[in-house]
Amino acid sequence: MTSTDAPAQVPLVDYLVLGDDPHLLAYECASCGARYFDRRNACAACFDTEFTRVRIPSEGVVRTFTIVAYAAPGIPVPFVSAVVDCDGTSVRGNLINVEADPDHVRLGMKVRLATYSLGTDDNGTEAIGFGFEPVES
């Protein structure tokens, strides 16, 4: 039975928070501050078992990237895969709203979180993904 008040949107992953101010959430170790996007039984760095939820800054710099030209079937190419340093927390994501070529993507580039639609399912629910887009300076 389809609920009439089913959410109209779902995030691609559970650590993406949608709404007016989309952002990423992490579990932060209460003892040493190490951050994880998935649940951990104990902190991998210090073994403490207490975690809090923290918001990840939405702006960062590109620490490394690759431009994937050849991927598994069904994955649109080319796309830019990157590691973005968001004020000390490394985040994995695609660079979006930028040409996927080495002339337009560079190390140290300033970027910010951005969302996009992955499409709508049979129940009318829209999935929302995230990436990082260049910040004009």
Binding site: D38, I67, V68, A69, Y70, P76, G88, L118
Partner: protein, 404 residues
């Protein structure tokens, strides 16, 4: 250190790497074992433990191989550690010998990988019903490969190499730098008849080939192929009872180290292949009582051209941050100060995953035994073999020429 604590490679073998359509995984593994036993002057009757690695087969490779070469009831350890599987098998056999439980250990790694294509990516296809449904540890409603970065190996290791150029500012053209590393290894492979590919490639050919994941083009990626390698190890007491010829050809394992990746801030989103390699190298140099300057050759895990660069630094072959200068000085070419991957490396010798961590040791043994043929590094006495399995595991072995 007493003789019983010493570990020696008595026999070692690798098959030809490449396409073997007529041989299955058992045939290839058995060929390497028979070769290693013959090289050691032993039979399965002498062997006290078998450690066997294979990732893509159905499991239980060790027992399958016993049925092919000799079933004596000895314990088998089937091991799996991604691309470090071969080194893990050897490490397992060495630990059994070092523990004094057996005098003679046998390790084998084998893989059938020709035509396997892209490794690491894809994920599960969507179910027939078109409904966004959260699944897995991240509650993902769709496969994340390609949407949240890349899972495929060429892209992961491209980021590893580019990260190095970010952390150690580089003014040049990354694509050309990495392509030149690949050019070196393809050039080296022309002297290795067991390599899967033995063609010289120009910089233009490498850079003009199909782009897989910038800056890695196809020839800058490890070559999927079939192959196997095996080694027989003994302790020093056992070696003393053997013939002078066996003692002369035995290669001393002066360090055998296996590490995993300790926690590091970014390791949850990009595997850290650096810290565990550096840790393993430190342990290995300390165990062996040698430093990087004492090495005559190095076989390191160049699964992609972008990976080779970072391991110059991780293995301390250069000053910290100096990998680009080290490469550009010509040092790692076979006529350079410290030849790296004279076998042709994974990019041209090939990378049958589980065989790689023993095949790189075979290469070093050829040189310290003075049996390297046309690609012999003259006067080689000490060499280092390094392998990385993503996830991660790092195996390092330091091999030394026998004094006998």
């Amino acid at each position: 250190m007493s003789a019983s604590d010493e570990i020696w490679i008595l026999g070692i073998n690798m098959t030809k790497f490449g396409k073997h359509p007529d041989l299955d995984v058992v045939d290839l593994g058995a060929e390497a074992i028979m070769g290693a036993l013959a090289d050691a002057g032993m039979t399965m009757r002498d062997v006290g433990i078998l450690a066997a690695g294979n990732l893509m087969g159905g499991g239980g490779i060790g027992q399958q191989l016993q049925k092919q070469v000799g079933q004596t009831g000895i314990p088998v350890f089937n091991v799996s550690n991604a691309c470090a599987t071969g080194a893990t098998a050897l490490r397992t056999a060495i630990m059994a010998v070092k523990a004094g439980e057996v005098d003679v250990g046998l390790a084998v790694g084998v893989e059938k990988l020709a035509g396997a294509g892209l490794l690491g990516g894809g994920g599960k296809s969507k179910s027939d019903e078109n409904v966004w449904e959260p699944k897995g540890r991240y509650g993902a409603v769709a496969p994340t490969d390609g949407r949240i970065g890349t899972d495929t190996m060429p892209g992961v290791f491209a980021q590893v190499g580019m990260e190095y150029l970010n952390d150690h500012t580089y003014g040049g053209e990354p694509f050309e730098l990495f392509a030149k590393i690949s050019q070196k290894n393809h050039s080296h492979s022309t002297l290795n008849p067991l390599a899967a590919y033995t063609k010289e490639m120009s910089l233009e050919q490498i850079m003009g080939d199909i782009m897989i994941a910038y800056p890695n083009t196809r020839p800058m990626c490890s070559a999927n192929c079939d192959g196997a390698a095996a080694a027989v190890v003994v302790n020093g007491e056992k070696l003393k009872t053997l013939s002078l010829e066996q003692q002369r050809r035995a290669v001393k394992v002066s360090a055998s180290v296996l590490t995993t990746d300790p926690w590091q801030e970014a390791c949850q989103i990009l595997p850290d292949v650096n810290t565990l390699t550096r840790n393993a190298a430190k342990q290995a140099y300390e165990q062996a009582g040698v430093g990087p300057d004492d090495l005559d050759l190095v076989e390191l895990h160049d699964c992609f051209a972008t990976a080779e660069l970072v391991h110059y630094d991780n293995l301390m072959l250069c000053e910290e941050g100096g990998a680009v200068d080290f490469f550009e000085s010509g040092a790692p070419w076979r006529d350079g100060r410290l030849p790296v991957n004279v076998s042709g490396g994974l990019q041209s010798k090939g990378h049958p995953i589980s065989a790689t961590g023993i095949a790189n040791i075979w290469e070093v043994c050829q040189h310290v035994r003075g049996e390297g043929g046309p690609r012999q590094i003259e006067g080689a006495k000490v060499g280092l073999a390094h392998v990385i399995g993503l996830g991660s595991a790092c195996g390092i072995h330091v091999l030394e020429k026998s004094a006998a």
